[in-house]
Amino acid sequence: MMKRKRPSVGMLAIATAALTMLLSFQTPDPAPQPYILNYPAYFGGRFTIPENNPMTREGVALGRLLFYEPKLSGNNRVTCATCHQQKLAFTDGKAFSVGVDGTLTKRSSMSLTNLLWVRNLFWDGRANGLEAQAVVPLTDPHEMGQSLETSVAKLKTDASYREKFAQAFGTGDITGENLLKALAQFERTLISAGSRYDKYLRGEYQPTAQELRGIDLFMTPPSPQRSIRGANCGHCHGTPKTFIELFHNNGLDTLPKDAGRETITGQAIDRGRFRVPTLRNITLTAPYMHDGRFATLTEVLNHYNEHVQPSATLSPFIAEATNAVGGKSLMLTETEKGDLLVFLQMLTDSTFINNPDFSDPRFLRSAKP
């Protein structure tokens, strides 16, 4: 009996070792690799990545897959990319977007560019952080229209997702929280810094005389007493990021149909105030404003120059800006508007809209019409 028992113990040990090896092959070391963010120093470091969602290559890759995943919508046809198409700097070219229920969204789809530096997302700034942002369009009945629970259940039917969640978050248990975290990680990588304006900022491009005039006008506040002409755009769209995180009523309406930030804060002084968006890739993101009312940049310039509507909450910085002593509007010349337009065209970044890292990872689907 004793003789027989000893070899059996040895065999058990060998079997255990073999099983351990087999298991270790099935689940390779899950430690995800850190994702190194690459951005120009002139964008500055004022951003926060949540401590509980550090960026990893696996997390970003999963987020990209989910960004293009139709299973996350109620009718299995809508993805994040439906309203945020890379070729249009992650907008959809429409004033309002169509949701799964066929209704239109309340506001125009925003460009997903350099969101790493945005702290309060949406036109009204209601979401603090990209994780909190992502849940809104996913679950809104007029957008993708599906609860996180249903999305998770649908993803669980795909074994490859279990593996990818394990690689990104160390657990194959697909959860709504990790779904949002992965999407946020991918969105933080959408950095646009390859435009002609960037090349100029890096000293790699000599702008034309008209472009230089445009840059100067854009960034300068007018001071007619000192004979300084300016378009004052930089007050809100200053810094190389071309936005400062502000909420302003830019004089679209005397009685705004959409109360904007007031719906979030409940304060009357926020009526008709909306977040200042980036102007990066602005030539690609028409139509313009929160309701897509302007089809062209010329219309936008004409608005700021001569059609600003007075109201109790109109930004004083817009109301006060003029190029004529005692002037009631901005009073730029047609030539100056042309110069500004040429500067805005400098902000188009073809490397951003063609970056394969941001495209649909499922080539076959993206190749379909």
Binding site: N120, G125, Q225, E245, L246, F247, H248, T265, G266, Q267, A268, I269, D270, R273, A312, T313, L314, S315, P316, A319, E320
Partner: protein, 166 residues
């Protein structure tokens, strides 16, 4: 008293006043962060305090008289480390002031504390005897020694004391 309260007109007025009060809260600003007593202050609160006046040249290039309370008194009321306590690591604190539109500026505590500076940084609610204009008030910072008015923050909503964590 009870008879007065039974007056239906007075009751209606009281109900309406309370509804109006709920619909639109009185404008206020918040003092928070590294403070002993975070607090929300309205103009009614400030009117009970000692007033201060400063003269300063606004963006229009003209000199105006601003009335309000000293920023140092606002911070002191929330228990911020000022005066004798403004030393050592407390000198690595800064004051982040935010406006309704999201605009933000910072001050260091010694720029505000009268033991360090002879200038008065004012939290203003009046200019030349009138309430501050819409888009400017009800609360605005006035920093007379700043030649540019970029820190004369309008529509002030939050004063946050923060430790530099660098």
């Amino acid at each position: 008293m009870s008879k007065k309260l039974c007056n239906p007109f007075l009751l209606a007025a009281l109900v309406l006043a309370s509804i109006a009060g709920h619909a639109q809260p009185k404008p206020s600003f918040r003092v928070e962060g590294e403070v002993l007593k975070p607090r929300t202050l309205t103009q009614d609160d400030l009117l009970k305090w000692k007033t201060a006046e400063v003269k300063g040249k606004d963006r229009d290039g003209k000199e105006h008289v601003f009335k309000g309370v000293r920023l140092v008194d606002v911070l002191d009321s929330a228990g911020v480390t000022l005066g004798a306590k403004l030393r050592g690591e407390n000198l690595a604190k800064y004051v982040l002031v935010k406006a309704a539109d999201g605009y933000e500026v910072i001050f260091s505590l010694p720029e505000i504390d009268p033991e360090f500076t002879s200038q008065t940084v004012l939290l203003a609610y009046e200019v030349d005897g009138h309430p501050l204009a819409k888009g400017e008030g009800p609360f605005r910072m006035v920093v007379p020694s700043d030649k540019k008015q970029a820190r004369w923050i309008r529509e002030l909503t939050t004063i946050k004391v923060v430790f530099s964590k660098d």
